[in-house]
Amino acid sequence: MKPSVRIAAAVAAATLALVVLPATASGHGDMADEPVQEQGATEPGHGTEEGTEEGAEEGAEEGAEVPLIELEVPDGAELGTHVTLRATLTDPHDGSPIRGASILFQAPAVWGEEIRGWMTLGVATTDREGIASLTTQVRSSGEVEMRAVFLGGDGFAPASVSTHLDVQGDAQLYAPAVGLRVPWLNLWILAAVIGVVWGTYLLVGVRVLAIARPGRPVVAEGSGSTTPAPGATSRRSFLARALPFGAQAGIAVIGAGLVALVARSPRTHGNLLAPPATIDYHRTAVARVGSSMEMRPMPMPLDRPVSFSREVLPIFLANGGPHVVAPEHSPPPGGLRLDSYQEIMAKEGVVVPGKPEESELVEHLLSVGMQMPPSVPPLPEEQIQLIVTWIAQGADDG
């Protein structure tokens, strides 16, 4: 198992373990010469202890310090708006910030009536000041608990902190983004069609009432006599006379009810009585880490010559993930292999000799949104600096 795969698996297992199983996840195979939580490590080969996943509050392995973690949330927020959560991680001894650590931001979630747990809103990495921030949409109102979790690592034990965010408002946030909006083509047409049909029934009912109206004595045709027909209206009881009116009222009530059902029907999609909320409902709850799509600044090239085989290639081999797996196992993503000089140079644009700013490789190492390797903290700046230097010096196979 290659390191990045192992790391991804470890992070997934750790998250799962934290939420579901309070069990330790250790012994990640014989290649575990690196700490699981180190994710590429500030200093490769550094022999720090593995962080435990026994639940953040459970303390740590022997010798691991519990860092100080603080969570800062806004004083209040409106339902559906975006808020920035800010967690600060510091060393308990000297108060120095811990950088490069992953912080999970979580909120409680309920599924159905019985399943409850912490939903991870997103993951952010602490910066130089030990601050990790996450912008997220608040999607439930009231006193919403927010939690920041440090899974441990780099000599520190897991830690977590929670606080409350006061969320106001009761807007309906869900509305599907699918469908066409055609002007004038709306529910009123359906309501009108139903109304017209039932209105016609009412008109027919009026005719029935007219038939039932007590009329003049019937003059039998031709005879001139005024004998009332048998069963003439006067003999009909009050109930019998009221019945047609009752039926007519029934038609009116059912018809009006159906129209009302159309008018008020959809509770989640905006209806005739309440148009869809104007809030930006197209955005999902996917958290945006920091200010996304930014590029970190490119490190300055070193003054000394850099060797590809001794200094640069080991970085690729250690962090290249599927890009350094032999192709018989699976084709590398994007067709890019990073396990030899020839393979790296074979794909145009990946490395532009002498121009690190135009090389896609460097772009991906520095990008926030399209960062490589993905899902783990970026490569240490020293390693990126080595790669940049190597490209700036002409990208020789030395």
Binding site: W198, V204, R207, I211, G231, I251, S265, P266
Partner: protein
């Protein structure tokens, strides 16, 4: 062909005979009738018992449970579509014939109209049977969302039910007055009150006739739109999903045509039964059967066209799961049903109407029975064969076979349908007396129509036709 279409020379006006024939079932009840009611009640009771088991133990007692959630609609929804289809017998056919002033319709409109009401009442039960928790039917009202086809169905069926009750009732008013007057001596107090109340004090005055004609004139047009909408919406319950076999634009018109088709077949069967039971031979003649037979044949050809059109477009492209679906209806487990439907249900009606020798009451009735059976099978194929098409890579398609509970409930419902009709013909005149009389009078006096009617007072015949 010509001889049956020619208007037979009417006998002398025999109002008394007509009334006597039409009112005879209301006057006298033989032991056979009570026996029939008893048998039907027994069957309905069996169905009710089966339903009580289903209520207690849930849908687990149906064959749908054995297939996990794959075939979630079985016999119940098949019956629902079938009965709603039958309901088109009435109103739609009677309205179309009334608009086209087809005089031969007059003895059969009443039957057609009450088939509609009864079939709707029975058909509307099936979605409730299909719910493990029938009380959740109220959720349609409480939480109904218009994007749901179930809500469309609710709108359409309730609108159609009220409309067809109105459309059944309007032409009944003069006949109820006849009952009130002619049966006066022989009625119990309660029955007398019943006819007196429902006949709305009808005396046959010209104003009443004018109002009746106006109301009927509106209803016979509105009801066609409503009836078409009902079966279109029933088809959309299927066609609004992305399932193989259902996902087709032809479904709306296909279901409407199928509904009229099975509706006519049911009308022919009911006509034959009542004609025999109540000696209506003088009024319901070979002419009615053969004319309805022609309609049946025409609709069979339309249905055949829709089948070819739908299956050829699906079979040519063979998109997605279409090979599985078409395979099971053409050569697979549904093939016997499907080919029975094509040959006995669609080709046969066209064939028998081609030859004078087969244009007899007996043949038309047998054809109608075959059509009803094959149309039921067609609905079963639509519901179950489509649901069997796997949506997930499971090794086997689901197997569905109805349990005795489902069969008993379905049988009980069919018995309920017959029971309601049997009760109806005991309470209301089975022939539309006044319409037949007007028609006979028109035939006797061909010049009657040329006599100008008083201005502003059109007669019923002017508006509704002979």
């Amino acid at each position: 062909m010509v001889d049956v279409l020619q208007r037979s020379t009417p006998a002398e006006p025999s109002a008394d005979l007509l009334e006597e024939t039409a009112l005879a079932p209301l006057r006298r009840t033989g032991p056979g009738y009570y026996l029939l009611i008893l048998v039907l009640l027994g069957l309905v009771g069996l169905g009710a018992y089966a339903y009580s088991i289903q209520l207690r133990r849930g849908l687990a007692v149906t064959g749908m449970a054995a297939t996990a959630d794959k075939v979630m609609w079985g016999l119940y929804i098949t019956n629902f579509v079938f009965f709603i289809g039958i309901s088109h017998a009435g109103t739609l056919i009677s309205a179309m014939l009334r608009i086209s002033k087809a005089g031969w319709r007059t003895p059969i409109t009443r039957m057609a109209e009450f088939i509609t009401v009864v079939a709707l009442l029975v058909g509307a039960l099936f979605p409730i049977f299909d719910l493990g928790r029938p009380d959740r039917m109220l959720n349609v009202i409480e939480y109904g969302r218009w994007p749901s086809p179930i809500l469309w169905d609710f709108f359409a069926i309730s609108t159609y039910l009220v409309g067809s009750v109105l459309y059944l009732y309007l032409p009944l008013i003069p006949d109820l007055a006849t009952c009130r007057d002619r049966l006066a001596g022989s009625l119990s107090r309660r029955k007398a009150w019943f006819y007196r109340t429902l006949s709305l004090g009808w005396t046959g005055s010209s104003e009443q006739k004018r109002n009746l004609a106006a109301a009927l004139g509106v209803m016979m047009i509105v009801i066609i739109f409503v009836a078409v909408s009902v079966h279109t919406v029933v088809s959309w319950i299927f066609a609004m999903t992305l399932r193989t076999g259902w996902n087709t634009a032809v479904f709306g018109i296909y279901f409407v045509a199928g509904a009229i088709f099975s509706g006519i077949a049911t009308l022919i069967i009911v006509m034959a039964v009542l004609r025999r039971a109540y000696h209506l031979e003088r009024y319901i003649t070979v002419r009615q059967f053969v004319n309805l037979g022609y309609l049946l044949a025409a609709l069979a050809m339309i249905m055949l066209y829709f089948n070819v059109s739908e299956l050829v477009t699906a079979g040519y492209k063979l998109e997605g799961s279409a090979p599985i679906y078409l395979g099971q209806i053409f050569t697979g487990s549904f093939a016997p049903m499907y080919w029975f439907y094509i040959f006995a249900g669609l080709l046969l009606p066209g064939l028998v109407m081609l030859f004078r020798r087969t244009r007899t009451i007996m043949v038309v009735v047998i054809t109608a029975i075959l059509v009803d059976v094959s149309m039921w099978l067609e609905r079963f194929i639509i519901v179950v064969a489509s649901l069997r098409v796997p949506q997930m890579p499971y090794p086997d398609p689901a197997r569905y076979f109805p349990t005795w509970i489902e069969l008993a409930i379905s049988g009980g419902s069919l018995a309920l349908f017959a029971l309601l009709i049997a009760i109806f013909v005991k309470v209301f005149p089975v022939l539309s007396i006044w319409e037949i009389r007007e028609h006979e009078e028109t035939l006797l006096a061909p010049t009657a129509l040329s006599v100008p009617a008083p201005i502003g007072r059109p007669s019923v015949a002017d508006v509704i036709g002979p």
